[in-house]
């Protein structure tokens, strides 16, 4: 095994990530404004901004899903029990004692097991909840006539949408905080900007990359 500086985040993935940062921040800001938490922007323009941003994010997700499946990157997000306890123990205890993070990135596992499980839950439950309720919310007039009690249904839909928004806000707080754990904030953010990170490569992987994808090695 050798630690090498390898490009782990290709251009699209970085674009995906930072676009999400921008769009989700805008959605949370406008969404909470519409909910009445603040009145920084006028309501009408906020509705437009929220709607357009949401549609842009949906488009991005469609591209990202396509990319995940065509490149096989989706495997990165499959949760694994193996090693999860150690990571959990590290965050709950080891980190205070200054221990090293128990997980070492490998080429096909950019995320530690706890991270992967979180992303799995986010991608399969929270994000779908937010866009399903969001689309129902947006298209209320298209279905209101077809179901009984649409006024009550839209209230439930809106509340689920709001709850999902709060959960995403909570995720972002933890997500940003955890960047400060381990190797530190800068070294965690840098790969998502440059694309390159220190990875343990097997001799085979190293040989493969040197032969076939030399541009991925620094």
């Amino acid at each position: 095994m050798a630690k090498r500086c390898v490009k782990v985040y290709p251009r699209f993935e970085r674009f995906w990530h930072w676009s999400q940062v921008l769009l989700i921040s805008a959605l949370l800001f406008t969404g909470f404004g519409l909910n009445g938490l603040h009145g920084i922007l006028p309501f009408g323009p906020t509705v437009m901004l929220h709607t357009i941003t949401a549609l842009a994010l949906l488009a991005l997700w469609i591209f990202a899903t396509f990319w995940l499946f065509t490149t096989g990157t989706w495997r990165q997000f499959i949760p694994r029990i193996d090693g999860m306890l150690q990571v959990a123990r590290f965050y709950a205890y080891g980190v205070f004692k200054g221990e090293e993070h128990p997980y070492d990135k490998v080429l096909w596992r950019k995320h530690n097991p706890l991270q992967a499980a979180t992303y799995f839950a986010l991608k399969w439950f929270v994000f779908p909840a937010v866009w399903v309720t969001g689309l129902l919310y947006l298209t209320y007039n298209a279905w209101a006539d077809m179901v009984a009690g649409s006024t009550a249904i839209i209230a439930v839909v809106a509340n689920l949408h709001l709850l999902a928004g709060y959960v995403i806000a909570a995720f972002i707080i933890v997500h940003v905080y955890l960047l400060t754990v381990g190797h530190g904030f800068r070294s965690h953010v840098k790969p998502m900007i440059t694309g390159y990170d220190e990875i343990d490569l097997t001799p085979e992987q190293e040989a493969y990359l040197e032969t076939n994808e030399p541009q991925r090695l620094m």
Binding site: F43, G44, T151, L162, V174
Partner: protein, 559 residues
Amino acid sequence: MPLSRRTWGAALTALAFMSSPVMAEEQAAQITAPTANKSPTKPSHATADHTKFESLKKAFNSGPEVTEACIACHTEADDQVMHSIHFKWDYTHPETGQKLGKSNVINSFCGSVAGNEPRCTSCHAGYGWEDMASPPPQQSTAVDCLVCHDRSGQYTKTATGAGHPALDPVKPGTKTITGAMAWPVDLSKAAQSVGLPGRDNCGNCHFYGGGGDNVKHGDLSSALYAPDKSVDVHMSPDGQDFTCSTCHVSDQHAWAGSRYAVHASDPEGTGLPGQRRDVATCQSCHGTEPHAATNIKGMKLNDHTDKLACQTCHIPEFARGGVATKTKWDWSTAGKRDADGKSYHESNFIQSDGKHLHTYMSIKGDFDWEENAKPIYAWFDGQVEYTTGDMTIDPTKRVEVNRIKGDPDDGKSRIWPFKRMDGRQAYDTKLNKLVYTHVWGPTTDTALWTNLDWAKAIEAGMKAAGQEYSGEFGFVDTYMYWPTTHMVAPAEGAVECAECHAKDGRMEGLTGVFMPGTDSMNLTGILGRLIVLATLLGVLGHAAIRILWGSKSKGDHHG
């Protein structure tokens, strides 16, 4: 020109309408007729020039004489008008079966027409209706063609003449239906000027309902003779320059638009070109998807049309354009006299133009006024039910003189804006019914405005209306609702989203509709805040332990 029009309007309204039954001190100086219309005449598209008609080139001695000349050619017009609500003042509601119309209902303003005929019937579209107990006069010449069709601007009815115009010699002190000092009308000039009604023809009666400028409706005032575009985008000479009948389309002297049975929603929209002559709805011109659906904003605004009437957003306030409306009328305080035992008045409301409006009158009681007033909002299916004189009321509660009916789930109700009139008016304390009151009558010893005696005024009013009366009366608090549908602002003046989509917004308390942005502290809001708060505390706690523990055990592990 707009300045002089305004001055003219102010002069009109400066005269207290119906306020001084005895006007002996008025100077006998001849009042001259206005030389121009209050609302400008539009180019005529008519194929006839009435100045060239031999039958109109003569001196007329009365209104009915003019009508006789009109119907010599317009053979069906008298019959058509006589069957219209403008003439009958009688309306049987198609759904509730209630007998409504001015000849029947009681309101919270001057009460009732019955008992006060020649005063109230001064705005009848006919001549000589002096007793509500009988139907209006039935001879063909009893129809008043000129009140709607005069375009000379100098035809007017006197305030107390049962519909007849002011003719030479005008008795000194006579007033017109708009409260101005009356001038002698030139009937020949009026007859030769006829055309389609202008805003002034309708407005001279409808702007002064309830006893003065904008008193009753709130959205119909002298400001609409020639309004600024910001006051009424359709009726402004700088906007569409609509007359009333541009929207209130007519067919054979029957007009679209009723306050008793309103089209609260209109799913039909524009119909085929030229097709719809039976509705005065916004949708009949603007369609059912009035906002441009080519962008998200327009689509989202169109999404509101299943819950809201157009008026709800597009009439941000009523009583705009500088004329206030009466919002409270407490009849119970009427009758007070000053130190000399005479009736008196106070004028403590100052309108935006500086004019002082009555806030107390011995003959009428206490008033409140509002200018640029925010409506109240309610679900409305278009049907209005009245508390008529034969209905029993519960005097322990506030009585609704009329009730706005509506149901969020019936598919046709919409949230509408209303002026809510706050009233306190007389009722029979034994029979628990609203009473008819005889208020006007300069020569009777029973009229309230002449004698300041409620007992006599009610007894005479009930007698005139042919109603049973116990002889005992009291006063009850009332509400009366007036749908707000005029004074449509330009698009940029529409109600801002946040006026409703906010805590304590305009529609606070209205049920049957989900309103985003009104309740961020509901259960989900609290739960969400707790989740975020717990996360923040967890992260901060984690960070704090890291820092504390880290400083304590520094250098222990990285060897």
